[in-house]
């Protein structure tokens, strides 16, 4: 096989090259499952995201992104997954999950839809040296039929999760867009 030309890392997608990557995960067609995507939308609308951060609505395509990250020569230093999950808590409750504590029964499943695709998160954390964190929101009952929109409880948690994200990942470089607007408009 002819040696494939050296790949210019500047051609890599942002989620491989930027030091911090935040992925909103879920399906917006399934009620509260769209929580992660809603947080990304909220942050984009209300905050200025620094150049060092890749903030992405990964939707149902998260597995491909994580797969690419796992195999990439360039990776972020920090990865945050925003996801919806049913952990038996109160709907709208936000909590952090340590990928290392995800039950082993889920670890080796390579379904493309297994969110947050825990085996790849484990590989990124343990083998690839990426700091991986998962911020989850407890869902209400997911709809039996396709239905857009978050429940009231989960919708209320979106701004709370956004504030946490900003304070943890870009506190000094970011100000809310609203404040910018007041001073410049």
């Amino acid at each position: 096989m002819r040696e494939i030309d050296q790949f210019d890392e500047s051609d890599l997608p942002d989620f491989c090259r930027k030091p911090t990557v935040v992925l909103g995960v879920g399906n917006t067609l399934f009620g509260d499952d769209g929580f992660g995507c809603a947080v990304v939308d909220y942050v984009e609308a209300h905050y200025r995201v620094p150049e060092t951060v890749c903030l992405l609505d990964a939707g149902t395509g998260v597995r491909k992104l994580l797969f690419t990250l796992c195999l990439s020569t360039a990776r972020p230093q920090r990865l945050l997954i925003l996801d919806a999950i049913d952990a038996g808590r109160s709907p709208g409750e936000i909590f952090e999950i340590d990928p290392a504590e995800i039950p082993p029964v889920k670890l080796d499943d390579f379904s493309m839809h297994q969110l947050p695709t825990s085996n790849l998160l484990r590989e990124l954390q343990e083998t690839c040296g990426v700091e991986v964190r998962v911020l989850a929101c407890q869902t209400g009952p997911l709809p039996e039929e396709i239905s857009q929109g978050l429940s009231q409880a989960v919708s209320g948690a979106v701004s709370q999760a956004a504030e946490w994200l900003v304070s943890e990942y870009f506190p000094s470089t970011t100000v809310p867009r609203g404040d910018l607007c007041q001073t410049t408009c």
Binding site: I4, L12, L29, A58, G59, I85, D109, H113, E144
Partner: protein, 481 residues
């Protein structure tokens, strides 16, 4: 004592499914069924929406093959509005389709099915995954990774974003390709072609011969096939006419907007997913492995079987070699993998051909559309099979009816038949182990199924497990991966 084995879900396929194997009193396989759960409501969800919203909504159904839904939906919108996109708009769509295909086929061969072949079906479950492949063949993995990166990057250049694409619009394509961008993509395409050439040569030398006994026996069934061809009978994955081929190779062509005249859908009480079958053959429907009726297959092997030829030279040469070995139509289920690599080569060549076409950089990529009351059908070949979007609108262009048939649904009956055949050949006297069960799963993975798409369901709570029931439904034991 009779037992039921349940493999839930099948691992390393796109989505989740549960395989139930019913053993008889002698411990041999009585029946095997692949069960999926359907999430209802997509059609209802669409009612009253502007039809032009659907190319943006449908990629959200599933993140595995969003480009296929995006393009089939855009084509259905073209038909609803009664417009024909300009040549550059069509070519840009087809270019995206070919690149997305390469990304998908590389993923499947090397990292979803590849683990079975590179590591062996009996390998420990904890390494029989993508990381295991990386460790087993690091040099190959590095090349594969580079090209996958390139494919993702090419789609970003073409469409602005690789996830949840929005660039295809009713009437064409929203983003012309600049000449400088074309030149950049052209270099990437050369590398993709090199990997495609390497992949099929590598597989023919190192993979298929090693597992040829498995290929000849696992999941083998005899069915008809469906796929898309151009007017001249050449393989095409973006547009053309549908060709329905019997198991003996006779075929009939028809425009895809007449699919309801040729295909009907059977319902089984134990499955939420319907079973499309060829009603045009007039023999009804049966999944009897020895004597199936109306059953046809979609996806790579089907497309390679139904086309008369491939209009790119390297893929055509591979097709000729394939047919010399296996005939037409080829029936061995694991040949889906071989056919997938021929398609990978075709898409790499097609990408170069499209990029070399001067028309690809034309700025006239779309035409205006006007709402009207109409029905429109869009059809593409998704990596997992023929994908049909069928929309009807009122005079304001608002949706009044929607029907989707996705690739995996076409293969519902064949997958069940292949599982039954594989299970019968591998489980005897009630004896089974993890390797045997994974081999059964291999027969499913050959079809590259996407059950979440087929059933419109995303469920992250299932895990891999094996339940054993006796004839009375009593749980005897559970094994988990």
């Amino acid at each position: 004592m009779a037992k039921t084995l349940v493999i839930q879900p099948v691992t390393r396929i796109e989505g989740h499914a549960k395989v139930t194997i019913q053993l008889n009193d002698a411990g041999n396989v009585d029946t095997a069924r692949v069960n999926v759960i359907e999430l209802r409501g997509f059609e209802k969800f669409c009612l009253g929406r502007p039809v032009e919203d659907l190319p943006r909504i449908t990629p959200r159904i599933c993140g595995v093959c969003p480009w296929s839904h995006h393009l089939a939906s855009a084509k259905a919108c073209d038909a609803v509005f009664g417009v024909e996109p300009p040549p550059s708009g069509k070519k840009l769509r087809e270019l995206c389709n070919s690149i997305a295909y390469m990304e998908e086929h590389i993923l499947h061969f090397y990292f979803l099915a590849g683990a079975d072949f590179l590591l062996g079906p009996d390998a420990d479950y904890s390494i029989r995954n993508v990381i295991g492949v990386l460790q087993a063949a690091p040099d190959i993995a590095r090349k594969v990774v580079k090209v996958r990166h390139m494919c993702a990057h090419m789609l970003e250049v073409l469409a602005g974003k690789a996830i949840h694409p929005q660039a295809a619009v009713p009437g064409g394509f929203s983003k012309p390709l600049a000449p400088a961008e074309r030149d950049q993509l052209r270099k990437n395409a050369d590398d993709a072609l090199e990997l495609a050439k390497f992949s099929i040569a590598f597989a023919k030398e190192n993979v298929f011969p090693k597992y040829f006994e498995v290929v000849k026996s696992l999941g083998v069934i005899t069915t008809g096939f469906i796929g898309t061809v151009k007017e001249n009978g050449a393989l095409n994955l973006y547009d053309g006419k549908l060709r329905l081929m019997t198991s003996k190779g006779a075929y009939q062509d028809f425009p895809y907007d007449r699919y309801t005249e040729f295909i009907s859908e059977h319902i089984e009480s134990w499955s939420y997913l319907k079973f499309p079958y060829a009603k045009q053959w007039g023999e009804g429907f049966s999944m009897d492995v020895e004597n199936p009726k109306g059953v046809y297959r979609a996806n790579t092997l089907a497309r390679i079987n139904v086309c008369d030829f491939i209009d790119t030279p390297l893929a055509q040469a591979e097709l000729e070699e394939f047919r010399a070995k296996f005939g037409r139509p080829a029936q061995l289920t694991l040949l889906y993998h071989w056919a997938r690599l021929i398609e990978l080569l075709y898409n790499a060549e097609n990408t170069i051909r499209l990029l070399d076409d001067p028309e690809i950089t034309s700025t006239e990529t779309r035409v205006k559309v006007t709402p009207r009351a109409a029905r429109g059908v869009g059809c593409t070949e998704a990596p997992r099979g023929t994908l049909i979007h069928d929309y009807t609108t009122d005079a304001n262009g608002l949706i009044t009816n929607v029907n989707l048939i996705v690739g995996t649904t076409h293969n519902n009956a064949p997958i069940n038949m292949s599982v039954t055949q594989a299970a019968k050949g591998l489980i005897h006297d009630g004896k089974y182990d993890q390797g045997v069960l994974n081999t059964v799963e291999m027969s499913i993975r050959a079809y590259d199924p996407c059950f979440s798409c087929a059933t419109h369901r995303l469920d992250g709570k299932l895990s891999v497990k094996l339940d054993i029931f006796d004839a009375d439904g009593k749980l005897l034991g559970t094994l988990a991966n």
